[in-house]
Symmetry: C2
Subunit: 339 residues, 2 copies
DNA sequence: TTGAAAGCGCTAACAT
DNA sequence: ATGTTAGCGCTTTCAA
């Protein structure tokens, strides 16, 4: 590939001039601009972004580190993050850690501050040690939508009100008359999704119902996890009238298990999730869920990261997305009569 | 962040020595290695990958350009591509074009040969012009799983036998006694999925059945597309006993439409897709489909690209993945009696 | 308006 | 075994 100096030679100017027309600072005489552009066209020149990054001290790349690109939540997040980044003239590097914290760390340590100008980290099981190490570099890092916020006050962070989401789900089921409700709780890399569960428990507690531990299942937050948990729940508690899942993917797994047993949704059992991924809309019956606002979380997170890159702050910025909202679809209904 | 020369100064050696211990060429005396490593630890030094890339003339990044990260096929592809790349010491940049060819071109032109050592392109509506322009750079590019191979003989390429996939689907339905079959054909960026349709038609033709154009629908290859096409098909041809979709995502949409009309699968209508994405396994009833071997395609493509980067060839390499295979699940069954 | 020159942080001959 | 030196391709003062 042609380089700047080849273009310069061909145009009969120096690299400084070519560089100037490239980034059209208005310092170059139109006639010269024309010559340079001809030379660029003739050589098929493209700027070497690595060299530019080195010279400028910034790569215009940001990394998005996430645990499992196959979990449909993340592609939805990626799509909006990528678009926002592109509009702000950044490239987005998607780093999938395959749920392995060591890979996450490796990415972070290799990329942050060298390949990428900043890093956005999602649910990736990052430790306080990692955070501290990273803070010694000037490279910005933001966390988004973490379940546990213990270290989040020391680092820029976009906060989702998971507790409220669980609460809303619980309130909805209560309003439909359900009292015997199973709970399926995902165990991601960050540990159990306790915020959501506690919100749910809180809602039931307000109605004088305590959630027996025997009614909750902790499983991997996958379709398979939801399936297994539902099987287990149903075998031990055939009298359940509703199932609450801490995310939609597990709710989908639950709906499978129910279908496999010829249990009708919502006539026999109501089902509710959290997040509102596309799949929730596509399921049949469509899934009632508590929307977390993926688009907003993604937009806020990436914008925060880019803002931090362009305008470093001393105090870590903590942002809150608006509270989750209930989306009633077809998977929840009035409690059935007692058997 | 600390630089090489700071480390060198602290260790009392030169940058060359530090560089050598970093990439442990065995040229450095153990005692010196120790000193250098201490200095590295003390400074928290991390190599600047941009500078290294510039010096080495290679970035160790490859780009994967794809049209729609929300289509579950792509995350499955990304996951294996990323893993293979990582094992071969490359970073994978995922570039989502949002189905917009202009964005695809922009990525290609900006990234190929500058940020990335090579580019893997999937279904992104790339034109012959683009290919030609890119060929003038030394940067390798490989196409994978393209429907139309007209320009593929001029460029490294991983070929999937889509025609055979359609044929297998047709044969399966025929074997179950179906003769009145609707066909739903996706229109991706590369145009209609004709290979698959033709394979399907071929299978029916061998059984003396010609597929009336009135029985085929061309729609966007999305859940919504499959849904709409099924509605349309059913309204005009209530006597259909089976529906063939050129991919699983549309088949999922079809299953929704069927569910919405209380039409049972497979008792009333059989349904078959192509690809075998995870969703096909998760659907209820689980989807009978023709597996394209995503993992193999991804592995072969990324390996081909990396091979080409490390070992440039003159003749474009064309590789074929093994033929698709039928995966019988619960969505297909014997033809129902005529109404 | 353009050129000359230094430097971004690293690697890689070539010397010593 | 270690140091010296010259780039990689670009941006960016500072001069002219």
């Amino acid at each position: 590939m042609a380089t700047l100096s080849e273009v310069a030679r061909l145009a009969g100017v120096t690299t400084a001039t070519v560089s100037n027309v490239l980034r059209n600072t208005q310092k170059v005489k139109p006639a010269t601009v024309q010559k340079v552009q001809d030379a660029i066209a003739a050589t098929g020149y493209r700027p070497n972004l690595m060299a530019r990054a080195l010279a400028e001290g910034k790569s215009s790349m940001v990394a998005l580190v996430l645990p499992d690109i196959n979990n449909p939540f993340y592609p939805e997040f990626v799509r909006v993050a990528e678009r926002v980044a592109r509009h702000r003239n950044y490239f987005l590097m998607v780093c999938n850690t395959d749920e392995r914290p060591d890979i996450g760390r490796a990415y972070l340590h290799q990329i942050a501050g060298t390949l990428a100008d900043g890093v956005l980290v999602l649910h990736t099981g990052i430790s306080a040690d990692d955070i501290n190490e990273l803070k010694t570099r000037r490279s910005p890092i933001v966390l988004a939508s973490e379940e546990h916020v213990d270290l989040a006050d020391r680092i820029p962070h976009v906060v989702v009100n998971f507790h409220r989401a669980g609460e809303i789900a619980g309130q909805h089921l209560l309003a439909l008359g359900h009292t015997r409700i199973g709970a399926i709780v995902g165990c991601g890399l960050e540990g159990m999704q306790l915020g959501r569960l506690n919100g749910f428990k809180g809602a039931l507690a307000s109605a004088g119902i305590t959630v027996d531990d025997a009614l909750v299942r902790n499983v991997s937050d996958t379709v398979a996890g939801g399936h297994e948990a539902t099987d287990s729940l149903l075998e031990q508690h055939p009298d359940l009238t509703a199932i609450f899942c801490t995310n939609d993917l597990m709710a989908y797994g639950a709906s499978q298990a129910l279908a496999d047993r010829n249990i009708r949704i919502p006539q026999d059992i109501s089902l509710i999730g959290i997040t509102d991924i596309q799949l929730a809309r596509d399921m049949r019956p469509a899934l009632t869920t508590v929307a977390l606002g993926i688009e907003q979380v993604a937009t806020m997170s990436i914008n925060l990261l880019l803002d931090l890159i362009e305008n470093p702050q001393h105090e870590p910025t903590i942002m809150h997305v608006p509270d989750p909202v209930l989306v009633v679809r077809a998977s929840t209904g009035l409690v059935r009569n007692a058997p």
